[in-house]
Amino acid sequence: MSLFRLISWPYFRRHVLRTLLTTAGIVLGVAVFVGMHAANQSVLFAFSRTVDRIAGKTELQVTAAETGFPEEVLDKVQTAGSVRVAVPVIEAVVDTNLKGQGSLLVLGIDMTGDRSLRDYDLESGDDAVVDDPLVFLAQPDSIIVSNEFAGRNRLSVGQRLTLGTVEGEKPFTIRGVMKASGLTSAFGGNLAIMDVYAAQKMFGRGRSFDRIDLAVKPGRSIGEAQRELTALVGPGFQIDPPSGRGQQFEAMLTAYSMGVNISSAFALFIGMFIIYNSFSIAVIQRRSEIGILRALGATRRQIRWLFLGESAVTGLIGSIGGVAFGVLIAHAIAASIGTLIADVYGVAQRTDEIARTPGLLAIAVAIGVTTSMVAAAIPAMNAARVDPVQALQKGKYQVLSAGESRLRAILALVLGLVSVVCLTTAGSRPVFYVGYFLAIVVALLLSPLLALTLARALRPMLKWVRPVEGALAADSLIQSPRRTSASVAALMLSLALVVAFAGMARASYDSIIDWMNATLNPDLFVLPSPNIVVRTIRFPPAMAGQLAAIPGIRRVQMVRDARVVFRRTPVMVVAVEMKSVAETVTRMPVEGDPDEMYRRAAAAEGLIVSDNLAELQHLRVGDTLEVPAPNGVLRLPLVGIVVDYSDQQGTILMDRSLFVRYWNDDTVNIFRVYVTPGAHVSDVRQRILETFAGQRQVFVLTNGELKAYILKITDQWFGLTSVQIAVAVLVAILGIVNTLTVSITDRRRELGVLQAVGGLHAQIRRTIWIEALSIGVLGLALGYALGAVNLYYILQIVHHDIAGLRLDYEFPVATVVALIPAILGAAFVAAIWPAESAVRGSLVEALEYE
């Protein structure tokens, strides 16, 4: 400790900025980790909390994924011996049309049923929430809102509220205001209650419920009830405690969470690298100090712990800062995840609080400190190895020894070979990941050598541009390969991540465009909601006839898509009129014969699955699939595998008749409309709108609009890339500032000489700028090279482990080009302060500086 106070503290104090920068590395890593995870957790937590609060005393919920099921199931459930009480529920998320209020979660419940499961607080003491329950039931426009919602929007009993329904926007009458309770705070307070049967009508559910909430009879166990109900209602239902919905929600977000994990891991890794570099530099700079300490009797152990202790303190401070900063950015991230989830998965949720789970924060601090200490381990070891005699002699110490370079090269070669071998022996996932890890290690091992080589190659060019400033900048890089490779490697890592993500985005984008062009060829799409992933509002099938009767319409196809549970994974079922679709769309199957595939699927004799589902669930043509449905298990052979991007977890395509039969649901999500040749699409669209005006809420998208919409969603999904880019730019700035502050210290005398022999301030600044830009260039070159490799690995991971998508390798040229000015700009920004500090300060001291 005293060593720490005597030696480290003064060093920190003398190098405030550098200490800050080192800490910033950890702050960055921990902040991204905390921000991403806290946001993710908050979203999951908000969802679970909403589920919880709505669930009340519900012990089990009966659902058929999101498809809903006939009312008769309720009767069956109510007869179960282990059930004390069972009530139906419909949930709908509707647009409030109120500024800044977003959507409202409408809970349809049986007002005349048992209310013991939920505390609606409809009657407390002397005040009834609902003035006249009979009027409430008799009028389908009746709604009860939470006190929070009413307060926020200055609404009171008797006032009107316009909500979107299947029949268009309808005014609802507030007939009650719920008092504050657990329930009213669900969904951020944007909660309303209406009668379940009115909800069926308003939201086009026919005679079905979304869910049955139930409580078990006293003395019966939940497991017992689960078994009894499973036997009673069949395999097409999920009978789980309310928390199960949270798990399903989580499962749906797997791909997203994976992205979050990869991002935070990289951020930490980069943070670790910044620490490693700072400490390596510190050890080199403090060589003579270490030599003196050793000469005075400090043991190697003491020296090692001096550095490890410093790193632990840095890590601790950085982690605390990172946690604070992470919680701050978590708000923004959570908001964007919320939008993403609503737009991509069609699950509306509100995140009002950021989960500050002590566990997460503790883990973050632990990770921060550990990362910092691990990063400092090698420099600390090097410090302990410093020979007191050599250290006290002045001389060159920055140059990579030939031996070390050779060792690095050999190690890189060996590991590179192992990495390649790992790739060729495909099949085992752990081996693949080891190969991936080794590839990155190889890049890190080689980065000083490569940076050196590149810097040497760069020198003549720089010298040609600026004989003095250019040459000196290049020399500065060449003379201190460690210092240089520090920020170059950090930059390389973060750029490699950006390239991989951007490449994945690009590839997905292209694949999605191909898929859209192949499958989405109708002229118009008729939807019940402006959001195509919202499936809680649907059309009756009778509309197909009405549409077909409109002049100018040649063909109408009904589509119903719904998330179901297949092999315990939420996947998407897309039910189409297969025969009609086969006539308008010809998809080349990835596996299977096209004619046979369509013929058997149209005859309801087979199912088609998306290639990602086939990949994730290891399905082959000819396999018999078992899809549990409310009316029994749908058992059919797999007749074809096609490319389909409807869902990240996979898609099952089937003929509409099967869905109607097995799910007892004939509603429609989307009508695909083909226009008669010669008819104007815009005229037909107008006619459709006129036909249903005042009758139904109808949204008509043209082919182009729908595609643009899908691409917009895709963009949002890849919004994560922008976080990566932000991190990359930050890393560039941090790393370069760090390197440059060391560089100007190392070169203080040289810069002094330069000024003494006539260098103007502008010229001194220029040499620093050139150095920064060169680091940027080196980082870009190495980052793009590693990115090319990284992209390959990421695509493999996406294919095999995340979404099962087979994406073509395509280097994201546009992003890469766009990043060049961004990174060079960042480098320039990073150089501003060091350049200024280089021209300040005493020339006399600089010249005497040793």
Binding site: P467, Q479, L754, V757, G758, S842, V844
Partner: protein, 247 residues
């Protein structure tokens, strides 16, 4: 002591203090004038203020009080960059530790100030070669400082100082880091250049033999001038005010 504006270097009531825990007065109300073409040695013990004086003349530092004029131009009001321009045009520096840039060859080191002045490459190279020839280092043009002996390094440094044939050469212990023989060679070179180029030379030194070879010797002690002697014909071997030499 009044100083004529025609003097190459003129200091009037110059005081330099260094702030710190204890305020140190390095120069205390010093006035001195050095005419064009004079070769002056400044002597004095460690901490007497001789290097400070040189730094002020060279514009590397600014006085706390008083004025410094170089070739008639007052340095006080100049910006850093204008000060650099004065240095660039009028002053050549020779340092005890040579201060060559280790990554540049002799030729590049010598060309450095010329490049900084924005001379075209070709002209820079011609001049650098000319200067290196002048200091008899034709054979060492493409060598890095590491590959040169101490004397050779100082010659490169001198060549660099002469880049634009400045009217003033300032040397801070130019022979301090060299053995006696090499030191004498370097001194001879400086004297030779002085006589050939008619430059004003100011040498800060401990070495009495160096001082003895100058036309004028100014002795400093505790930041004040304690002696100022001009010799009609400088004696290259011995100075006359041996008594003043403290170390």
């Amino acid at each position: 002591m009044s100083v004529a504006a025609a003097h190459m270097i003129a200091l009037e009531h110059v005081t330099k203090q260094f702030a710190g825990k204890r305020r140190v007065t390095a120069l205390d109300d010093v006035s001195v004038a050095i005419p064009r073409g004079e070769m002056v040695a400044i002597i004095g013990p460690s901490g007497s203020g001789k290097s400070t004086l040189l730094n002020l003349v060279g514009g590397l530092d600014r006085p706390t009080a008083g004025s410094v004029r170089v070739d008639g131009e007052a340095l006080a009001g100049l910006t850093d960059d204008n000060l650099t321009r004065v240095r660039r045009d009028k002053i050549g520096f020779i340092f005890q530790f040579f201060n060559l840039l280790p990554t540049l060859t002799s030729l590049e080191n010598v060309g450095l100030p010329l490049h900084l002045r924005g001379w075209p490459r070709k002209r820079v190279e011609e001049r650098a070669r000319e200067l290196l020839t002048l200091v008899q280092l034709e054979a060492r043009m493409d060598h890095l400082p590491d590959e040169l002996s101490g004397g050779e390094r100082q010659r490169v440094a001198i060549a660099r100082a002469l880049s634009v044939y400045p009217p003033i050469l300032l040397a801070d212990e130019p022979t301090g880091n060299l053995d006696t023989r090499t030191g004498q060679e370097i001194l001879a070179l400086v004297r030779d250049l002085h006589s050939r180029l008619k430059s004003t030379v100011v040498i800060v030194t401990h070495d009495m033999s160096v001082a003895g070879s100058c036309e004028r010797t100014i002795a400093l002690r505790d930041g004040r001038i304690v002696d100022d002697v001009r010799r009609a014909a400088p004696n290259p071997t011995r100075g006359e005010h041996v008594a003043l030499q403290a170390d």
